[in-house]
Symmetry: C2
Subunit: 289 residues, 2 copies
């Protein structure tokens, strides 16, 4: 589906919220064309990125805005210092556009949540809302960021936003609102997380030995997911069965790669073999003799 | 205690092994003096480091040698590529000195084990041998490295060294051998891990909120332990109650700093406040408004 900026505004006023992916709304057409070429080239100059982010907020009619800036090894922003500079620039730009901006510097040194890829990520988010389970890192992070928005909007007192967001999940209100938003955007309001298909082709990678997960690297994960066909193929992606710090036994599934096309799965697997995105073991990376 | 190179050789032949800290054995005196000045300056030129490592192996009479090279953010060696280069240089230098060298590239992006500091580390190692518990990362890593030595010495078949090392711990033989070594070096052969005193002054840092441990940074941990008085003060150090990946509740103890002198504890605490060595939370590092 694709909506105009005016439609997005109207839907926002009716349902109290929308979920849109910038590039498909045609909100800022002058921005989308360069992005289409930058994406495969992996270039994205800083000034361009700032303008691109804020132009969309303005066009969508936002007056309050929280921007999540994940930092850490392999994230777009390498460290906290760089994140603070970027945050300052976004806030400054917001002032000129009359949008109140706050930024959340979060840890993005490894993937948050267990799923990467279009359908996999949507299913993971829906599952959390359905099960009302607030135990994982993804929920904690989402509530921390959403909590800032609730505090800025005056819906929650300062310092109580994250708890308020968590209560919305646990009461089931967040799930109902999500279904309302899906309906107003023309989707199936009865959709369940289990309805979202993952790619027909999949391969599970096993732990080569007993140990602990010592690292999950962003860069290889992104490269694998793209090779598997994401974001064009909605079923493509990775499910991480184990996260950093978890103990594993030899033969346990570390992660599963999904793809809509078999040849893309092969391509993704080749990258997985070359890059070892999930490192486990008795901490021995390699033996040099 | 301090031993001459000849004494170290003799003890090795009797007990089948020794544990020595290079700088206190007076084995390579021309090496120790520069190190004494490099340490506070945090300088250590590569060529000098290679010569320093291998000169001591030669002087101690080693003919087989496994060198552990921890790599990762905040470790001396930043990544696997750099580690492989260093390994190659050590192996080459070994050939010229007639020492068979193999290197283990291990993950050192966060501290392995839960203790840092002289007495704390010794107690942790002794406790593992006493309890014969092989579940932690420290044991897995130690067995992986020791396993290479067992394979090189022909005591274990290729690929079975780590398991052989683990069996030595579980059978109690490793503990008995440790006590033999302690005795021949003039120590108390009845020593227990609980006999090693930690500093009289300590402070425990609590989790500011619910969440998961997302990172433990080497650099701040090292800076805190040094400020607390390590390695000169044997009771100084850190005990990590939580490791990366573990869930924490608000108020749980994250880590405890120990020091022999109160003013050094204050200094260490100040660094802890400034650097946040253990990051937990709903992944929110900071909010910029």
């Amino acid at each position: 589906v694709a909506f105009s900026a005016a439609e997005v505004q109207e839907m926002t006023e009716t349902a109290g919220g929308v979920i849109v992916w910038g590039g498909s709304t045609n909100i800022v057409p002058a921005d989308d064309v360069p992005i289409r070429y930058e994406y495969p080239l992996k270039t994205n100059p800083r000034g361009k990125m700032l303008a691109s982010i804020m132009a969309k907020k303005k066009a969508a009619g936002s007056d309050i805005c929280v921007i999540d800036i994940p930092t850490g090894p392999g994230a777009k922003v390498a460290d906290e210092t760089e994140g603070r500079i970027l945050a300052g620039q976004l806030i400054e730009l917001g002032k000129r556009l009359d949008i109140k901006v706050e930024c959340a510097l979060t840890y993005g040194g490894f993937p948050i949540g267990r799923d990467v890829g279009v359908n996999l990520e949507v299913a993971e988010a829906l599952r959390i809302l359905e099960e009302r389970d607030g135990s994982g890192s993804l929920v904690l992070k989402s509530c921390a960021v959403a909590g800032i928005a609730l505090e800025m909007a005056g819906v929650a007192a300062r310092g109580e936003g994250a708890d308020a967001a968590m209560r919305l999940i646990q009461s089931g209100k967040a799930h109902q609102k999500m279904l309302d938003i899906i309906e107003i955007q023309g989707g199936d309001a009865k959709v369940k997380s289990s309805d979202l298909p993952t790619g027909a082709f999949s391969y599970s990678v096993e732990a080569p030995e007993d140990g602990y997960v010592i690292s999950i690297s962003n860069r290889p994960v992104i490269d694998i997911v793209r090779a598997a066909g994401s974001p064009a193929d909605h079923g493509a992606g990775i499910h991480l069965h184990k996260k950093v710090g978890e103990p594993v036994k030899k033969g346990d599934t570390l992660y599963t790669i999904y793809a809509d096309k078999e040849w893309k799965l092969s391509k993704a697997l080749k990258i997985a073999e070359e890059t070892t995105p999930v490192r486990i073991s008795g901490m021995l990376i390699s033996r040099v003799a």
